[in-house]
Amino acid sequence: MASLKERATAAGLKSYQWLEDRLGLIKPMTEAAAHPTPANNASWWYVFGSAATVLLIMQVMTGILLALVYSPSANEAWKSLNVLNHNIPLGWYLRALHGWGSDFMIAIVLMHMMQVFLFGSFKFPRELTWIVGVLLLLLTLGMAFTGQVMRFDQDAYWGLGIGASIASRVPVVGAPLVHLMLGGPITGGATLSRFFTLHVFVIPGLLLAGVGVHVWMVLKHGVSDWPMPGRVVSKSTYEREYHELTLKTGIPFVPDAAWKDAVFAAAIIFAVMACAFFFGPFGPTGPPDPTIIQTAPKPDFAFLWIYAVLAFLPPSIETPVMLVVPVLGIAGLLVLPLLASEGERHWARRPVAVLMVSVIAVTLGIFTRLGTYTPWSPIMNAWTSAPVPVKYLHDRTPLERSGAIVLQEKQCRNCHSLDNAGGLRGPALDAVATRLTEDQLVRQVLQGGGNMPAYGNALNPSETKALVSFLMTLRGNDLEPAVNASQALTQTTRGSDAPKGLPATPAEQKP
């Protein structure tokens, strides 16, 4: 008589056998999970891809839960987010998880891409894996952009306007593209519906299918071995070498290598939970009412660098750059593995690759940083909120002081700072008189130039006189006032020990 335990085991085995006889998936999947992988890639550097997949699953789950409450209509979307934030128990936490999960997912996907690039893992036979990966990156960014629209607050509303304005710059088909994107002539209910469809049906479907193909190819070709300087990828030998390496040093992926993936994924999910708990959900900011114009729209973190680049492009080349550079960039990423499918994999033998990653990372970092404080934007309330520092009013004539009033009233401070307060659009004025003479100041104020509007119509002569005489007192730490060439001439001919000829620049001028 078999014991109860033995009978239970036998029954369990039998049910498994019944299921597997019919399903036929458990055994092949178990075998795939335990496939041998070279021991040298069981590394902490190889954990980003699986973490991105786990984050995707978390995004799908939290997204489904949010969809239980979210209302994708222009009338109600913003309100339903506030309901989620304030009226649904733990609604704020779900929104926070989904929002932070999105930021983490972009970060992890980028790290994954950088690791694969630096390790040369995109080379033969994994070219198509990289190409599908690039498409997955674009889909992830597409999720981030459409997700920002789901928030349907002021930033989302004007962000759609920015998107439409970019689309409108496409030659010939600009107007149809705008209508296709907005779903009508204006940003409204149809626009939200389209982006909802993209965010909830189209892109996630493509993303999940793409991840399936991506993982399938990883299984087919094996996880790339750790690169070694001098071990060159050649189409004729690589697969045999990889196979031999696996035979010689192979360990089962699950559990010998996968435990690191699992630990890292858990750490990332925990980090998302911590950020969600401590920092809370993103927005929504003000309601999407287009008549509330006291707003400075800004995209989410992942797109801040684009927002910054758009501030610096000169008008003459802006449209071509906007439309051509992204196409070239994406095309470059897609054809990269086809152009460099063989050769060295180790970063120490690929200085150009390392340089490219460094330059791109630093560039994105700088533009993102600039995007956080937008020095190119006027500070709209600086003229009333940032007074002229008292030290700049001491020992000034009444005319000069009234010039200070003109400076405030004419909103110069929105773009120009004094003592580090005010806009950064134009240069700081603390030492303006050391750079420009009185005549040059008058000309600059009245006619503008160098990205400054002309104030000739906004100032009367007495205001101009007062303003310039105040500006003339701003010489930093009592530096020398600026002089122009003609002044320099009169001064040098007057002086007894004058040098021959004119000094090249006012800075070289000696009194």
Partner: protein
């Protein structure tokens, strides 16, 4: 039945002579090809209206979009000042909610002369604000600036502010509005008969930053 998935019951096929096999093969291949062709035709017939549906918003002609909307009594706009006004978009749909509202800047130059500017910056569509003291419109996004007549003053915009067509009907200021103004969809609408006169809210006091 494809070659890949042989039904055990049909293994008797292997006993047939090559000629007989070829005959059977040809007929089945023909039928399969015909079925593929049939599906291609049905698929195309299905796809055309689906694509038409998807492109629906594009099909509308630009000139058919838009209508005349009243901004309010002309007396609400003092001569020499620029004021914020808003109106319900005449092209808004049922579910547009508050996004159906549109703001614009109204500049009254003289008794009969106006300029009505779109709120959208010509650079990337952000809402510009009017600063009456420096007589400038400034954009919060990338620092575009415009003079009081809407001309480009500085920054990234490549042109001046978009202007609505206006007329004075009786005592009210009426503008022609439709598409959201962008570089491709600026007020390009043709003259249309007055269809809708509806008093719109106007801020009574000049709005300041």
């Amino acid at each position: 039945m494809s070659d890949l998935l042989k039904d055990p019951g049909e293994s008797s096929n292997n006993d047939l002579s090559p000629e007989a096999k070829a005959v059977a093969h040809t007929r089945r291949v023909f039928l399969f090809k015909m079925a593929v062709g049939l599906n291609a035709v049905v698929g195309a017939a299905l796809a055309v209206p689906l694509i038409g549906y998807l492109l629906g918003p594009v099909m509308k002609k630009g000139s058919s979009v838009g209508a005349w909307v009243a901004l309010g009594d002309v007396s609400e706009f003092p001569v020499g000042e620029t004021r914020l006004a808003d109106f319900q978009s005449p092209v808004a749909g049922l579910g547009d909610g508050e996004t159906a509202k549109v703001a614009c800047w109204v500049r009254r130059i003289s008794q009969q002369q106006f300029q009505v500017f779109a709120i959208n910056c010509a650079h990337l569509g952000c809402p510009v604000r009017w600063f009456s003291e420096s007589k400038l419109f400034m954009c919060p996004c990338h620092g575009g600036a415009y003079y009081e007549d809407g001309g480009r003053a500085s920054g990234p915009p490549e042109r001046g502010l978009f202007e609505y067509k206006y007329k004075i009907a009786g005592n009210s200021l009426v503008i022609h509005a439709g598409d959201m103004p962008t570089l491709a969809t600026q007020a390009s609408c043709k003259e249309k008969p007055l269809v809708q006169i509806e008093p719109a809210e106007t801020r009574s006091t000049s709005w300041r930053a």
